[in-house]
């Protein structure tokens, strides 16, 4: 019970902000064309939820999730192998140095030219964006693994593969998981970005479409939807991360 109250107290400022929004618009301090009342946005949210918001968000999230999972698998493998085998490092490192400072949104026109408007082009954009934080964190983490751990495992007769699987990966995990959290946030940015520029479905497209059509209530409902999804994804990820790292405490 105490926990519930603490949680409610923690999120009271958001309620206050919503109340302020409602008050400002009800008293006509801001034109309703610039900012519809909060209650009308909520009504619009309810109206659009099953017809528009949910399917579009589901499409976006499915693309983002696919890209993120592929990026995690490829990125962790590449990062750890780079840290472990020098030839791989020398070959892969230049690509990373080249792509790391490139703002990934610059690739939107290219992904459209090469892969069209469908899912593949959006998934590859998110994939490239998420890949680098994962590779870099996996590389740094695997290089930072204490030599003593590696030596002990070898001394106990572990093969090279066992050392990687049983020592390097678990020891690198905390830092990699932090890198993946950065990638998660980037996935959301690129997911919406790609859809804002050119798309025919997805939540970014929906927000843009409703805004262009002058349905500002719907547009704000869309923004609330994607904010909520982003927040939930982050919280879920943090919960999962704590579970995975439970052995550390």
């Amino acid at each position: 019970m105490n926990k519930t109250i603490a949680l409610a107290w923690r999120y009271t400022p958001i309620l206050l902000l919503a109340l302020a929004w409602e008050a400002i618009t009800q008293f006509g301090l801001i034109s309703e064309y610039a900012l519809p009342t909060f209650t009308s946005v909520l009504v619009s949210f309810g109206d659009l939820f099953f017809e528009e918001l949910l399917p579009h968000t589901a499409q976006s999230v499915a693309r983002g999730f696919t890209a993120l999972v592929v990026a995690i698998v490829v990125g962790m493998t590449a990062g750890i192998l780079m840290a472990w085998y020098k030839p791989i490092r020398i070959v892969v490192n230049p690509f990373i140095q080249m792509f790391y400072p490139l703002p990934k949104s610059a690739l939107i026109p290219l992904t459209i030219m090469w892969l069209g408007l469908g899912d593949v082009s959006k998934i590859s954009l998110i994939f490239i964006g998420c890949l680098l934080p994962v590779v870099v964190s996996a590389f740094n983490a695997a290089r930072g693994v204490e030599n003593v751990l590696v030596w002990s495992a070898r001394g106990l007769g572990a093969t090279e593969r066992e050392v990687l699987r049983e020592v390097v990966v678990p020891a690198a995990l905390p830092e990699v998981l932090n890198g993946i959290r950065v990638a998660l946030a980037l996935a959301f940015i690129l997911m919406v970005t790609g859809e804002l520029i050119i798309a025919n479905n997805g939540i970014g497209f929906l927000i843009n479409f409703l805004g262009d059509g002058g349905d500002y209530k719907g547009m704000f409902a869309g923004v609330i939807m994607i904010t909520a999804v982003g927040f939930c994804a982050d919280r879920l990820y943090l919960m999962g991360m704590r579970r995975i790292l439970i052995w550390r405490e």
């Binding site: 990373i96 610059a106 939107i108 590389f139 090279e160 940015i189 982050d234």
Partner: protein, 282 residues
């Protein structure tokens, strides 16, 4: 027996400091990256010249270079890069100042923390670019809306790292300063800010790529000049050399921005142990 010997050689290769590399290996270490990039460029040029790929999808590297030279000599590159950098600089400064101020206040004032904590924890993971149509509606199509959206996208990261950095300052430092007679203002400027500086700079370094991503998107969506706008125009008119040139131009600008931030970090943290340590990061 054979297994042990391979394990030994692997052990040596995993410890770069212990091995004495041959001249060939050392040459490969130095020139390897250039060979990799060089062969990639050559493969690209050959594939395009032989028309293994439709020229529209992959224009020859030389064509792209010509386009870049053209952009540079006509000054179009400098104008667009200047516009993009000018917007980014203002937005980044705005985000940095507001983020650091809010972050420090959150660490030091309880009511501030209570109010901003939930807002930041909701705001940080949500994709702020989704507000692009809202910012267009509120602030128009010109620089103001672009700058504000970029600043808004970047400030949450700065707030949270500043807050965590300031909160993590060792109590002993603060107590010693107090007992030596420091007042609150001195405490803040002489102890808290320098001690939290590494974390604050990390926050700024994470925020900058986000700024660059978002500024390009706003330029693509709203126009008004800049590298993002130029690139999207090229894509619309199906001028693929322009698109590739744009990627290379934007990449070089991003490279310069990010490297100069690393340089600033080293300068500001000369006194810090991380600068003296051997570099393990990229």
């Amino acid at each position: 027996m054979a297994r042990t010997s391979t394990a030994d050689s692997r052990a040596a290769s995993a410890l770069p400091r212990a091995e004495g590399p041959s001249i060939g290996a050392r040459l490969f270490d130095t020139f390897g990256p250039f060979i990799v990039i060089g062969s990639l460029v050559v493969a690209w040029e050959i594939a395009a010249q032989r028309q293994l790929v439709i020229p529209f999808l992959l224009p020859a590297f030389s064509t792209v270079v010509m386009k870049i030279v053209d952009d540079v000599t006509t000054g179009a590159f400098f104008m667009n890069a200047g516009l993009t950098l000018y917007r980014t600089a203002i937005a980044f400064t705005l985000a940095a100042v507001s983020g650091v101020v809010v972050g420090i206040l959150m660490a030091r004032v309880v009511s501030f923390r209570w109010f901003f904590d939930p807002l930041v924890s909701v705001g940080l993971p949500s994709p702020k670019v989704a507000l692009l149509p809202v910012f267009m509606l509120w602030f128009g199509l010109f620089d103001l809306s672009k700058i504000l959206l970029v600043a808004f996208s970047a400030c949450f990261q700065i707030i949270i790292t500043t807050w965590h950095g300031t909160r993590g300052v060792e109590k002993e430092l603060i107590w010693s300063a107090r007992s030596l007679g420091a007042n609150e203002r001195q405490l803040l400027w002489e102890i808290v800010v320098p001690a939290a500086l590494p974390q604050i700079l990390t926050g700024l370094q994470i925020a900058m790529p986000v700024c660059l991503i978002v500024i390009l998107v706003t330029e693509m969506a709203m126009g008004g000049g800049g590298l993002g706008d130029a690139m999207l125009v090229n894509a619309r008119y199906v001028r693929s050399p322009g698109v590739f040139a744009g990627i290379i131009e934007i990449g070089s600008v991003g490279f310069c921005v990010i490297k100069s931030m690393e340089w600033v970090r080293r300068r500001l943290l000369v006194w810090h142990q991380e600068t003296q340590r051997e570099e393990t990061t990229f």
